[in-house]
């Protein structure tokens, strides 16, 4: 769980473990980048060597003798430029390699995380807020791999240090030992920094996700916020979290403010000490002036890249937290298991059998308590029940969006849980209450990528009464709908969603109050064309969740769902006659009209002035 990840502290070792995952995944790019960095490091040190060489062989002799050969000056230029060009090659390999590795690792993890989003069951999705999942796939992944950018540089720095240290020892052992004291000091400074800032970084990363969750939810509910005038309260809610994040960042910044100058001044102090020691050794004749220069210069040169290691380690806490959060998704289990059964190719309607089905979201209040029914091939069954009686849940179970706690659902005699993956969607289509649109064209939203000729698409649009408004769109079938189809009305989205199901010619079609946002007249036309198709011999088995009598009247049979069970079953007329509860539910409009008529005759507009 992501929450656990936030509670645990992070260590430098954890940071290296995350990097190791990246190195194993992209060894080639990593090698190129590191070689580039090593080249860069070696040549940076070579720069010092060239300077020393120039001092000994050009500078000092020239000043001593007052003359110098042109060939020596050419050598100076050639050496410096040779080193510079090779170093540029090193930079390109290091930085481009580092960048490519960083982007590739992010892509790898994002592919993994989104594959998990697609394979984890609905039940998992219901437990995780949208904002959190988006942040897991984006900013956490980004944070996780951020140390890859400075990684080659830091590794190159280590090589550079080794070379520099060897050179220092070659120049003068005592001064080298003194200069080396800088390195343990840097390590200690880093450990202290890690220790103090890592809890803050962890907290900040968690807060970033929370800020994102609030923004996501608030923008999603913009209509409610606007219509109830709650902009101020929403802004307060957002501001509180943004300020919390700000304060944590500022506190983390204080440690950074201590760490950076410490890191910068350690090599400088080292140089001073080396100078002091060096001068005394020159005075005693133990070493030469040139060696003092070399050692001091090597230390200054190393001082800048030493910080690269600091930057690398500085990224660790955020990286480890980001990685853990993304890893929590990657490691999430509960993938729906599939069997090996196939549904034999058949053209007619499917047979659906539901047997003693139990389901609950909340153990204290079971929603479905032994639902039994069947739908014979080609029949139309209406599912009727009060608000919150479990109808939508039942449709989710029939399409295996969720699995029941107990009981079985069979299609053509095959238990849904025994079917191969992808088998069920070929034959069964659900049109949900709330239509979801992809950021795609009208055609893409209807076919969902299947190779369907345009006339078939138009046929489906005609049946769902969407052909009119689609034809009127600027680019017809090729009109882009934008994210979640916000350019369309709710009724238009529902009709496209219905066409999406129809175009697949399912053998079992389940409509979950799928026309609630459509006008009665349009709905009547939809139902009429469904009925026409039906009588034309397509004979799809149809389950409709409905309240309206026109819809119910389509049904060969009506199931009355109440208290988690099917309490009534028969034709509409039979149920009306046998079940007062059913009659009250579906006759509400007529009853209300009757009551209104009565009260109108009593009050007769008395409420109006």
């Amino acid at each position: 769980m992501a929450e656990d990840a936030e509670l645990r502290g992070t260590t430098t070792l954890d940071g290296f473990r995350v990097l190791w995952v990246g190195i194993k995944r992209e060894p080639t790019v990593f090698t190129v980048a590191t070689l580039g960095a090593v080249l860069f490091g070696v040549l940076t040190v070579a720069d010092a060597w060239v300077l020393g060489w120039s001092t000994q062989h050009v500078l000092i002799p020239a000043f001593d003798t007052g003359e110098i050969g042109t060939d020596m000056l050419v050598w100076v230029v050639a050496l410096f430029m040779g080193v510079a060009i090779l170093r540029a090659v090193g930079i390109v390999a290091r930085r481009l390699g580092g960048g490519i590795m960083y982007y590739r690792m992010q892509s790898h993890t994002r592919r993994g995380v989104t594959r998990q989003y697609l394979s984890l069951p609905m039940e998992w999705h219901q437990r995780h807020p949208t904002g959190q999942l988006l942040s897991n796939a984006y900013s956490d992944v980004e944070a996780a791999w951020a140390p890859i950018m400075p990684l080659p540089m830091a590794l190159g720095t280590i090589v550079m240090m080794v070379v520099a240290v060897v050179q220092m020892f070659l120049a003068d052992v005592v001064m080298a030992l003194v200069g080396l004291l800088v390195f343990p000091a840097v390590v200690v400074a880093n450990l202290l920094y890690q220790h103090y800032s890592s809890p803050l970084m962890t907290r900040a990363q968690g807060l970033r996700a929370e800020v994102s969750e609030i923004a996501h939810e608030s923008f999603d509910g913009a209509m409610v916020v606007k219509t109830l005038g709650r902009e101020v309260e929403e802004t307060d809610r957002f501001r509180a979290k943004a300020h919390e994040l700000r304060d944590v960042n500022i506190r983390a910044g204080r440690f950074r403010a201590i760490f950076d100058p410490t890191l910068a001044s350690l090599p400088n102090l080292g140089v001073l000490v080396v100078l002091a020691v060096g001068v005394s050794r020159v005075a005693s004749g133990a070493t030469e002036a040139g060696d003092v220069v070399t050692v001091a210069y090597l230390l200054t040169i190393v001082s800048f890249p030493i910080r690269a290691i600091g930057w690398l380690l500085g990224e660790f806490p955020r990286s480890v937290v980001g990685y853990r959060r993304a890893k929590a998704v990657l490691d999430a289990r509960g993938t729906m298991t599939y069997g090996e059964d196939r549904l034999p190719p058949a053209s007619g309607g499917a047979l659906l059998e539901v047997d003693d089905l139990h389901y609950s979201y909340d153990a204290d209040a079971p929603l479905l308590r032994g639902v039994d029914f069947d739908v014979q091939p080609g029949r139309t069954v209406a599912l009727v029940g009060a608000t919150a009686s479990g109808k939508s849940t039942l449709t989710s179970l029939m399409t295996r969006l969720v699995d029941p706690d107990a009981g079985t659902i069979r299609i053509d005699g095959h238990d849904l849980t025994g079917l191969r993956k992808g088998e069920l969607p070929r034959d069964v289509a659900l049109v949900p209450q709330t239509a979801f649109m992809f950021d795609d064209t009208v055609r893409g939203n209807v076919t969902l990528g299947a190779d369907v000729p345009d006339d078939v698409v138009w046929g489906a649009l005609r049946t769902s009464q969407a052909d009119g408004f689609v034809a009127a769109l600027p680019d017809g079938l090729d009109t882009k709908l934008g994210e979640r189809g916000t350019s369309l009305s709710g009724g238009q989205r529902q009709r496209l969603s219905l066409a999406r199901a129809l175009v697949r010619r399912p053998r079992l079609l389940i409509l979950d109050d799928a026309t609630s946002a459509v006008d009665p007249e349009v709905e009547a036309r939809i139902l009429a064309s469904l009925r026409d198709e039906h009588s034309a011999g397509s004979a799809t088995s149809l389950v409709v969740v409905a309240y309206r009598k026109a819809t119910i009247s389509l049904a060969d049979e009506v199931l009355h769902l109440d208290g988690g069970r099917i309490v009534g079953r028969g034709t509409h007329a039979e149920l009306l006659a046998s079940s007062p509860a059913y009659a009250q539910l579906v006759n509400a409009y007529e009853n209300a009209a009757a009551i209104d008529a009565e009260s109108a005759s009593v009050v007769d507009g008395g409420s109006r002035q």
């Binding site: 697609l118 219901q126 109830l228 501001r239 910044g253 005075a283 204290d364 919150a388 289509a429 409009y589």
Partner: protein, 602 residues
């Protein structure tokens, strides 16, 4: 005030047209904290950058006077120089600490302000404008984009300020040592400095593509999350994954492309450095023959060159990174630069008195951007305290009616008046207090029912909520929930059924106690029995208010005081149900006939 210019048609500003300097200026305007104490921070930066110069001076002095002095090595001189340098390092480190702290504090404060302002502004924008941007991209504008700017302001800004300080100090010192050698160094770096502008242009374009691809990527990632049910029930996992993979690849390509420019520009700096070093030695030697150059001076100069090169390379890198940060900053500022077409007059505006509201549409015409008029020349009055139903076919313009009435949009021509006041002149808080819209899809926040209902009345007690539920006739439903008012509704309320979400939305509206209630198909997903029950309760509750109901179900219209029939953007009929239905051949009679046909079948 009867006519104004077209509104509601503004797209979300991408911010792409804001220039780099304009971005900085605008950024400072929206986050005034960034300016605070900037003078002192700069002074500290200069002091801090001096720290980098202390060592070479000490080295040069030690070499020239301590080591190669006339009387041989002088230990006391070396000791004093070392002590002096150590003190200087201490002072400059302290300055660096203070500067970093200040930079962190001001940028984090400034950006928190910017984030919050941008968030608020999104809510001030019309829904139509909000919808021109992908949700994920909109969120990233107040989250990751701001983080990007923060990284730049703190680390980039800090190092850039210090680097420029160092370049300046190094240049001054170089000139003091030898203006000839200083010239050599600057000449070696001239190609780099001259190419910066070109690289900046390329990088700016490359990072604009990057930010765009980030938006596309976020959109693609949101599909398997938000559309989880559809993706599964249609078995289109592979296709969805393919779309995500494409977005991931495009994102990666965009970043790699941008990185190529960064790397090229950075490696140029290395070449310049080599040239500068060689030049200093060669020219230094040549100067030694004619002038007062000493080996110590040339060496110290070589140190100065590294001091110059380091910050120049750093500065170049920051300038390239800055393009990414500025691209992000632009996107955040773009939100704030998007005009909020529905301008709130604020507390200066008119306040609506309590009590039933009378409504007047005066020659109202509305059209969506680049679309034909949805409503044309609507001129009507609704008396205070009446219950009105608006009916019409899909696309007739009846939902637009509700949105104009609640000022989710402003008319293109004409005016909507509440109690005789143009809605555009009413203080938004007063308007929202008195006018409440219950939309068809009642959005709920991921919290308890209580918390959601309190959106209608912030200080509502549980008893009030229960009483309100009883008045609406939904107390049975509430009592049936295992956790009652404490039930968690889930994200977007998805743990509840669509019908239950509508019940919560109604309860919320009822608690808000409006003087004008606008219901847009607010009970479409509720079972008929409950719908009728709520309908009757609403009628009772609406007696001292004005209510406008957008109705698909004509049963609602039958109970209204008056029915307004909209057809093709015009009001074609109005009057009580009984009168309208009797007008043979009328639109309403047609609608009613089909309604009856649907409901009395069997």
């Amino acid at each position: 005030m009867s006519t104004t210019t077209a509104t509601s048609g503004t797209r979300m500003d991408t911010g792409e047209d804001i220039g780099a300097l304009a971005t900085l200026r605008l950024g400072m305007t929206y986050s005034p904290e960034l300016r605070e104490g900037i003078g002192l921070t700069l002074v500290l930066a200069v002091v801090a950058s001096c720290g980098q110069v202390v060592v070479p001076i000490a080295v040069q002095q030690t070499l020239d006077r301590g080591l190669n002095g006339p009387g041989g090595p002088r230990l006391d001189y070396v000791a004093w120089m070392g002590l002096l340098a150590a003190v200087a390092i201490g002072v400059t480190s302290w300055a660096s600490y203070l500067m970093t702290r200040r930079l962190f504090t001001t940028s984090e404060r400034g950006l928190a302000t910017l984030r919050t302002k941008a968030f608020r502004h999104v809510h001030d924008l019309p829904l139509l404008t909000q919808n021109t941007e992908r949700r994920g991209a909109l969120v990233s504008r107040v989250t990751s984009d701001v983080d990007q700017v923060s990284q730049f302001l703190v680390f980039g800004g800090l190092i850039f300020v210090v680097s420029m300080g160092q370049v300046l100090v190094a240049t001054v010192l170089m000139v003091v040592y030898s203006w000839e050698l200083a010239l050599v160094v600057w000449l070696a770096f001239a190609p780099l400095f001259l190419s910066i502008r070109w690289f900046q242009k390329k990088l700016s374009a490359a990072y604009t593509v990057v930010r765009h691809q980030v938006g596309v990527l976020l959109g693609a990632i949101s599909e398997p999350v938000v559309g989880a049910a559809v993706v599964r029930s249609y078995g289109v996992e592979d296709r969805t994954q393919a779309r995500i993979d494409t977005a991931i690849q495009d994102w990666q390509d965009a970043y790699t492309h941008a990185q190529t420019y960064t790397v090229t520009s950075f490696s140029l700096g290395g070449l310049s450095a080599g040239l500068a070093n060689a030049g200093v030695i060669v020219v230094g030697v040549l100067l030694g023959f004619t002038g007062d150059m000493t080996p110590g001076k040339v060496l110290a100069f070589a140190f100065l060159v590294t001091l110059f090169v380091g910050p120049v390379q750093m500065g170049t890198q920051i300038l390239t990174d800055a393009q990414n940060a500025i691209a992000s900053w632009r996107r955040v500022l773009g939100i704030l630069e998007t005009p909020a077409d529905l301008v709130d007059p604020g507390p200066e505006g008119e306040q609506l008195p309590r009590g039933p509201i009378d409504v007047r549409f005066r020659d109202v015409t509305f059209s969506y951007p680049d679309g034909p008029p949805v409503l044309r020349d609507i001129d009507l009055a609704i008396e205070a305290g009446t219950r009105v139903a608006i009916v019409g076919e899909t696309g007739s313009g009846k939902s637009t009616f509700a949105k104009l009435l609640t000022r989710l949009m402003d008319p293109v021509e004409g005016a909507v008046l509440l109690d005789g006041v143009d809605v555009r002149r009413i203080d938004a808080r007063s308007l929202r207090r008195s006018v409440v819209l219950v939309p068809q899809e009642g959005f709920l926040f991921d919290d308890t029912i209580t918390a959601n209902v309190r959106y209608g009345k912030l200080d509502a007690t549980e008893d009030e909520i229960r009483a309100s539920a009883a008045e609406l006739g939904v107390d049975d439903w509430l009592a049936g929930l295992p956790r009652g008012l404490d039930t968690q509704v889930g994200q977007r309320g998805e743990s509840l059924s669509a019908g239950e979400r509508q019940l919560v939305a109604l309860l919320r509206a009822h608690l808000a106690d409006p003087d004008l209630l606008v219901l847009d198909e607010a009970t479409s997903a509720v079972d008929p029995s409950l719908e009728m029950q709520i309908g009757r309760a609403l009628e009772r509750l609406m007696q001292s208010r004005t209510s406008v109901t957008i109705a698909h179900r004509l049963s609602t219209a039958e109970g209204a005081d008056e029915v307004i029939v909209v057809d093709k953007g015009r009001v074609v009929q109005r009057g009580p149900h009984a009168v309208l239905v009797a007008q043979a051949g009328s639109v309403y009679a047609g609608l009613h006939a089909s309604w009856v046909a649907q409901h009395s079948r069997l």
